[in-house]
Amino acid sequence: MLFSAFSLLSAGLFVALDAVDVAFTEAAVGAGISTILALATLALTGARQEAGTHHKVAPLIVVIITGSVLIYASIDIPPVGDSQAPSHLHVAPRYLNQSMKEVGIPNVVTSVLASYRGYDTLGEVTVILTAGIGVLALLGGRRRKKERTKSGDKEE
């Protein structure tokens, strides 16, 4: 529930950071599909409000170490919004300046996504297909499962 609000909030942040396409997707996926699937799972598992997170020390230490390493790393990252950051000077300008001429599409995100790095997108579609196949294999065919439990019992 609050997770959906979190998605909306993060999508708002993406808009503020000028990543409209990302915001678009995050809104549709995070607040829409993920929420619906999470709810369906909760409905099937019947675990609505269970005992909260147990406080454990070991994970906390790991988290603190990871966080500190990231903050350490962030010191040398160019600050947000710096137009002279190396990441804006190497590959990206070509996309922004040549996209109109080479691909002919004003939305640079689409032109990079579909053309310059189109192969990544093919991978992305494949990932979705993988998830689809996986969920079908796991949740399709109800009858089969019972047989399996039986044979599983015998094995042990």
Partner: protein, 142 residues
């Protein structure tokens, strides 16, 4: 949701709008935010909304899972097929410039087709996911 009359009426009204909007996002992705993936999700959401309000069986009657499986595979095949066409026309894999006489025209055509492939697969898989989750355990309960 039998007793939600207003909801049912409004939903009936909204679903065509949603599907139209999905198509708009699909084909407007070149100029504004959006594209195949987003359109696929919105299209899928439209059908999912139908499934939520009117029940799984009705939604499955509209788009049977077997059709969705074919569509999901077709989307990927369309994408890959465009790539392979690039090879056959003498370019590299996924090179759209060779698809038409002018490179930019080819790029346009290529992007249109692959976005269509993305949209098809994503929409089909999203609906399939919903069907799989919502339909799990159904027979047991009657």
């Amino acid at each position: 949701m039998e007793h939600h009359h207003i909801l049912r009426t409004i939903t009936k009204l909204l679903i065509p709008i949603i599907l139209l909007f999905a198509l708009y996002v699909q084909f407007h992705g070149d100029f504004g935010p959006g594209g195949g993936f987003q359109a696929g999700v919105i299209f899928g959401s439209g059908i999912i909304l139908y499934g939520i309000v009117f029940g799984l069986d009705k939604a499955m009657a509209v788009i049977p899972p077997s059709v969705l499986r074919v569509l999901a595979a077709l989307g990927v095949l369309l994408y890959g097929g465009v790539g392979l066409t690039g090879i056959f026309l003498g370019g590299q894999f996924l090179d759209y410039s060779v698809l038409a006489a002018e490179p930019t025209k080819g790029q346009h055509l290529g992007i249109l087709l692959i976005e269509l492939g993305v949209g098809t697969t994503v929409a089909a898989i999203m609906i399939l996911l919903f069907f799989a989750f919502a339909g799990f355990n159904r027979e047991e309960r009657g």
